[in-house]
Symmetry: C3
Subunit: 351 residues, 3 copies
Amino acid sequence: MAVSWQLGDIAARLGGRVIGDAGTRVEAVATLEHAGPQHISFLTNSKYRAQLAATAAAAVILGEDDADATSLPRIISENPYAYFAKVSGLLNPLPSVPAGIHPSAVVAADADIHPSASIAATAVIGARARIGAESIVGEGCVVGEGTRIGSRARLYPNVTIYHGCVIGDDFIAHSGVVIGSDGFGFAMEAGRWIKIPQVGRVVIGNDVEVGANTTIDRGALDDTVIEDGVKLDNQIQIAHNVRIGAHTAIAGCVGIAGSASIGRYCRIGGSAGILGHLQIADHVEISSFTLIGKSIREAGSYSGIYPFSPNDDWRRNAVHLRHLDGMAKRLKALEKQIEILKEDNSEGEAR
Amino acid sequence: MAVSWQLGDIAARLGGRVIGDAGTRVEAVATLEHAGPQHISFLTNSKYRAQLAATAAAAVILGEDDADATSLPRIISENPYAYFAKVSGLLNPLPSVPAGIHPSAVVAADADIHPSASIAATAVIGARARIGAESIVGEGCVVGEGTRIGSRARLYPNVTIYHGCVIGDDFIAHSGVVIGSDGFGFAMEAGRWIKIPQVGRVVIGNDVEVGANTTIDRGALDDTVIEDGVKLDNQIQIAHNVRIGAHTAIAGCVGIAGSASIGRYCRIGGSAGILGHLQIADHVEISSFTLIGKSIREAGSYSGIYPFSPNDDWRRNAVHLRHLDGMAKRLKALEKQIEILKEDNSEGEAR
Amino acid sequence: MAVSWQLGDIAARLGGRVIGDAGTRVEAVATLEHAGPQHISFLTNSKYRAQLAATAAAAVILGEDDADATSLPRIISENPYAYFAKVSGLLNPLPSVPAGIHPSAVVAADADIHPSASIAATAVIGARARIGAESIVGEGCVVGEGTRIGSRARLYPNVTIYHGCVIGDDFIAHSGVVIGSDGFGFAMEAGRWIKIPQVGRVVIGNDVEVGANTTIDRGALDDTVIEDGVKLDNQIQIAHNVRIGAHTAIAGCVGIAGSASIGRYCRIGGSAGILGHLQIADHVEISSFTLIGKSIREAGSYSGIYPFSPNDDWRRNAVHLRHLDGMAKRLKALEKQIEILKEDNSEGEAR
């Protein structure tokens, strides 16, 4: 089961410079702390050099600055963390899944399934749907009518994609993902909500990954758009008509309200929120637990987190938040009174 | 595929007053900005009149105040947004789904499936469950023993409804919805949690919609109740024994803790929370990201959001939140001292 | 359908002391308020004694301090809430599910399914997976290759467990749960995210319950670990390499970021968050809606919640949060000026 690679072969494949025995064999990646003699490990931050000294790894991946920090066989890379990611990919190839349609899958007669694709047990593919080359549709997945999925996609079990969506190549969706559900749109009339049909689509670019139980609603009239290279963690909610710019990464439990437009290369922390119709510039970082309540026009890092304390401290302090405006006014009044007193005194002295 | 309607026929069906050529044909709805000559668009806010002037739509829906704001063929309605919702419904009829039970579905012999209902591939219907007229149960859905669902329900794929629940007419549940899972109830004894059986049901009224991956737990002893016309967005968590009043709308990612009781016609913003056992009056609006920590007895709008800033500003300001009580006390002390100084001065002057 | 028990038989089974007619028969549990003559109810808090006086229950469960608070037949227990939980378990036995594999289930030839286990319709069990004695795998569940699940597990419908995970005895997973999905790990290189293979597992101890739509990611290199007796509510997100100590209970919608380590017997409120790589001591309580942004070394209760108010009050007060640092500085300046004025005055008086 274990694949073994020589350092020299790894470097031939992925680049980087080998120092020490290029014939050293490694089977798996591990942290410096837990590595054994079959492992290759990595150092991405010089502050862990002590762990490097103590590691039992057979080899390590290091940046240029740490090139001489060990006598172990090593590969030197400009970006040791990305290099480690690729080595791990080499050593952990995805299990090959046989092409073809499982007999228990239910595939519409006019669905277009590439012969190299794999449709697992109990999956259901709707009319006129298209599944590209080498794509894998897991057990219990449902792909709606007319939805098109590119090549090398991987839908883990129990993913649901509604009708009429368009998804690029190299897509990964984890279990429980829902794509193309109706956006939340209603008009109030005479005390009742009238449903607004959600007739847009979800359009997803290439190289996108979507974490478990994340939901992406279809557009109301226009489309919801996820651009190339976007990475979404688990349990994220993307409302109708949102646009997420290329290569933006969003951590778990974030909610993005309708028609918000997020830039490229943004990073959004866990459980953050973005209100509807806002614009977020490229290269914006948003901290966990922060609600963005107005548009952000400039790259940078933004936060809005209430700091935690022991309960009693929190209670004693938080009670004043309902009186901050009063405090501000009293402060201003004091400043005025002080000025008067100072004048009085200097007049007094002058007398 | 495109259904086309004349304005006059729309008004005959939905009411409203046509101005201009009642024979104008429209096929689809679109925003003013994106509409073309096959589209009907709408204006719900006079501030977008500039878009109205520029639109390529064939016709528009307007309120009385904007009746003369264009020379395009138009329908005038008291509530143009609700009118648009209904027109969109006319122009986007739901695809008809053939009645009957797919051969791959697994339906208990004593389940009561209306002949006009549709049970899709791989769906499972438990013993004694009842599915009403014209209801559609999607692929991969599971309906538990004895659960009753009314007429014209639509369960999108991969919805799970546990045993013994009761659901009204015109119900919509999006994919990944779970209804009737156990509430979170345990008693601690000798260092271990003892599970409290959750023996209540979930009871849902008519005309309720539930968004993707939303969860509604069954009651512990009594029932969890969702009244008529309630609209729930995606990824909402409704705990055991909660009651949600009729026509209340709740945005995505909200959590409502056990036994909370929400009034009628409330609107709750995304990622808000409501603690257990609280009462919320009718017509209450709660902002996104706000935790409601005590009951609200009066209609109105309520917020509790920490404002965001650039990181450095946030950090510089937030550090004082742990010392607010001290600041309040120092402010009070200053006020006292000023009083003393003022008295001293006036005495000094009087001397 | 109703099982009926005499008080004496209950006490013989569960302990506790009967006062009054031990032959009193009860069929079900109910709250004091809703109980009828077939019910046994319970009082866990003396402040509800008025309800005890008014109840129509046939019998009640009381603590020692309330032993004489009623003349109804009663069982006295040191821990009436835990006792009630057990009585409810007696009166609400889980419906027995026939052992065996449903013909529509898809089970790998080399999966190891205990003969007393039950695999429901449309479930899929992967190669070399193991399902223990008396375990129940619900409809639409997918258990990945090589995953091992202990005895008496109950997977409700549409649960997904990825390959290679290890789960103990008496496990309960509610619908929509995803276990073993990839952690959120990427390295940025030349403007693109490189996926870091997630090769750890999820390892879950005995007596763990996981609520609907909760997600637990597999470890990146090492494992994600959930210890014995942990109780997770709905819609919780547990990231890769998290460890949750034994008997910790976590309420709905909580997010725990990667490599965080939570102690034993902690209680975490709804929608709280814990940032990555933090350590939380044993016996820590965290309030709802609180973000823990640094490690907690001592047992205790911690909060960080922004209090809510009517909108106008909130707005008027919250605006000052962006100027708190300025307020603090002005306060300090005032204190200095007051000191100077006081000195001046006392000098003045001394003159």
